[in-house]
């Protein structure tokens, strides 16, 4: 597997042009107290250029969300370097993190659209919150919220509604709009479509494509290669906390190098006309666990 992994490991810096919005080098993350330390991420290096969309795929527990949460400062890294918009945030304390976050350079869209919006706040209150935190006047914030609500194809009538009165797709679009109001350079989306039906999924993916066209860098985290494939410029594959393959989306899908990637591609029948059959998948699974 080591040989396969080495072969499969393409340059983590592919696509980087020196002005990366996000640059992660040798990231290690551990959970739990010293004696029961459990490794969540090991030696993960990835960079995201301005306007680039990077998809991170992997199974549940592979460390996808941990990667996002570490980049956002919600989880502390054990080792490694994280540079956001040219700032090395490795040694940042809570005050410095707050200052960086208030600039709205990076935003996050959560997986669960119901729990990511405060059930007591109306859509408008949720949308203007990041702006109010930045110190924007309420009226101006409200005007900007309306603009971004239109950008995610939602009606202004929803501004007075509570999250409980919206559908799952509407909630997720509100969450996307909330992430966009500060006009970030980088948006990290953690499984943004996994809780949605196919119609809403298509709508959200279209919004992401529009964002990419507008020059916003995206990190799209998903367990579903199919969702990522249509949006991402590059795809990074996480397996058991390690980045096993990074490359252009087309290359990773058409010519996967790592066994795990091959298994992932083989398990997504819509991606290739000649998808791997059951026997082939079993063979790959045996190779992976060997």
């Amino acid at each position: 597997m080591t040989t396969e992994q080495t072969q499969g490991q393409r340059s983590a810096e592919a696509g980087a042009d020196g002005r990366a919005v996000l640059e992660v080098t040798g990231l290690d993350v551990h959970y739990g107290p010293r004696r029961q330390r459990r490794r969540a991420l090991h030696d993960v290096s990835l960079s995201v250029a301005p306007g680039e969309t990077v998809g991170i795929i992997g199974e549940t527990g592979s460390g996808k969300s941990t990667f996002a949460r570490t980049v956002l400062g919600l989880v502390r890294a054990s080792a490694g370097r994280i540079v956001i918009g040219g700032e090395d945030v490795g040694a940042y304390g809570s005050r410095q993190w707050r200052r960086l976050r208030r600039r709205g350079v990076v935003q996050y869209v959560f997986q669960d659209p119901l729990r990511s919006l405060d059930p007591d706040l109306t859509v408008e209150e949720s949308l203007i919150e990041p702006l109010l935190i930045q110190g924007v006047a309420r009226q101006e914030a409200a005007d900007r919220a309306r603009t971004f609500l239109a950008r995610v194809q939602l009606s202004e009538e929803l501004l007075d509604r509570l999250p409980g009165e919206l559908s799952g797709g509407q909630r997720q679009r509100v969450a996307v709009a909330r992430a966009l109001v500060t006009e970030p350079k980088l948006v990290i989306l953690d499984e943004p479509v996994s809780a949605l039906d196919s119609a809403n999924r298509v709508q959200i993916l279209q919004i992401l494509k529009d964002l990419r066209a507008a020059g916003v860098a995206l990190v799209f985290i998903s367990h579903d290669l199919g969702s990522v494939a249509g949006v991402a410029d590059r795809i990074a594959v996480l397996y058991q906390g390690e980045l096993v393959e990074v490359g252009a989306a087309r290359d990773v899908i058409t010519d996967p190098r790592h066994v795990y990637t091959r298994l992932l591609v083989g398990s997504a029948p819509t991606l290739r006309s000649a998808s791997a059959d059951r026997a082939e998948r079993d063979r790959l699974r045996a190779l992976l666990h060997a």
């Binding site: 600039r103 919150e129 935190i133 969450a175």
Partner: protein, 297 residues
């Protein structure tokens, strides 16, 4: 302000606010309205209600109605002091224990455990011996001893929302701890605290009178509602109706506090907002004609 408007949109909320306003007025104006000197004794002991003594007299011939009015201020203020003290010493550290790091959390948790373990009367007597005797000191002691309830309730409610994605979304947007508590946590913590507060106000009346019995806090012959109830109970065979007036006053105050707490709980949170919205929608529908049937299957 939104919360006040929502509480007032409920009938129970309006009733509670009216009653509590009357009780507050009684506390402010009560001693001034007393028709007779509440401390003046007479030979006319244990008299029945009459034109000169509307609620009769007690075992020392003092006018019960005047004592009831005169005792309102100290009773209500005493209860409020207990509640405010418990809120400040209990609820606020309870919320902050989730945010201010492990040292603060450990210290406040152990302090709450210690206060729960302390015997109430012994602690009250010790503190009074240290700080001097007075109603404020007595109420502060009581508030401190009730505070673990508020601490636990506030902490539990805060823990339930502290790690929720919407709080993390606010964190990612650069919100401070103060912002998160004000905007996201307080609304969720308020309903259970309001219920605990209503209970404490009721308990406060009883504690004021218990401490008076021990010579702590309000000093005899100064009247309190709880004190009146306790002294009247000793003469039940002569005046079976006598405890009725202070009991009814205490009961109404506690009931109105509970009613207000329930109203706050009902209009808080998602369910509460939906409830108020449904009422609004119903009211709007009542103002409009029914939709005309277009026929068909």
């Amino acid at each position: 302000m939104t919360m006040v408007r929502r509480v007032l949109s409920l009938t129970s909320g309006r009733i509670a606010v009216v009653i509590l306003t009357l009780i507050a007025l009684l506390a402010v104006l009560g001693p001034l309205l007393a028709p007779q000197n509440p401390l003046a004794t007479s030979d006319n002991t244990l008299a029945a209600a009459s034109g000169s003594h509307w609620l009769g007299t007690d075992y020392l011939g003092r006018d019960t109605f005047s004592r009831l009015l005169d005792g309102s201020r100290v009773s209500v203020l005493g209860s409020l002091e207990v509640a405010v003290m418990a809120l400040v010493v209990g609820a606020i550290p309870g919320i902050l224990s989730v945010y201010l790091g492990r040292t603060f959390e450990w210290l406040t948790l152990r302090l709450a455990d210690t206060l729960v373990a302390l015997p109430f009367l012994l602690f009250a007597v010790a503190v009074i011996a240290l700080l001097g005797n007075g109603i404020t000191q007595a109420m502060l002691v009581t508030g401190a001893l009730v505070s673990p309830l508020f601490y636990r309730v506030a902490r539990a409610a805060t823990l339930a929302v502290a790690r929720s994605p919407y709080v993390e979304a606010a964190l990612v947007a650069g919100a401070s701890t103060g912002w998160i508590v004000r905007r996201h946590v307080w609304v969720k913590v308020l309903p259970p605290i309001a219920v605990a507060l209503a209970q404490t106000i009721g308990v406060g009346f009883i504690i004021v009178s218990s401490l008076t019995f021990l010579g702590i806090g309000v000093q005899p012959p100064a009247p309190t509602w709880g004190g009146l109830l306790a002294s009247d109970l000793g003469y039940l065979s002569y005046q079976p109706w006598a405890p009725l007036a202070p009991a009814v006053l205490i009961m109404i105050t506690v009931w109105a506090s509970n009613l207000l707490a329930d109203a706050i709980r009902d209009v808080s949170g998602e369910a509460g907002r939906a409830f108020v919205n449904t009422r609004k929608a119903r009211a709007n529908r009542l103002g409009k004609p029914d939709p005309v049937s277009t026929g068909g299957a």
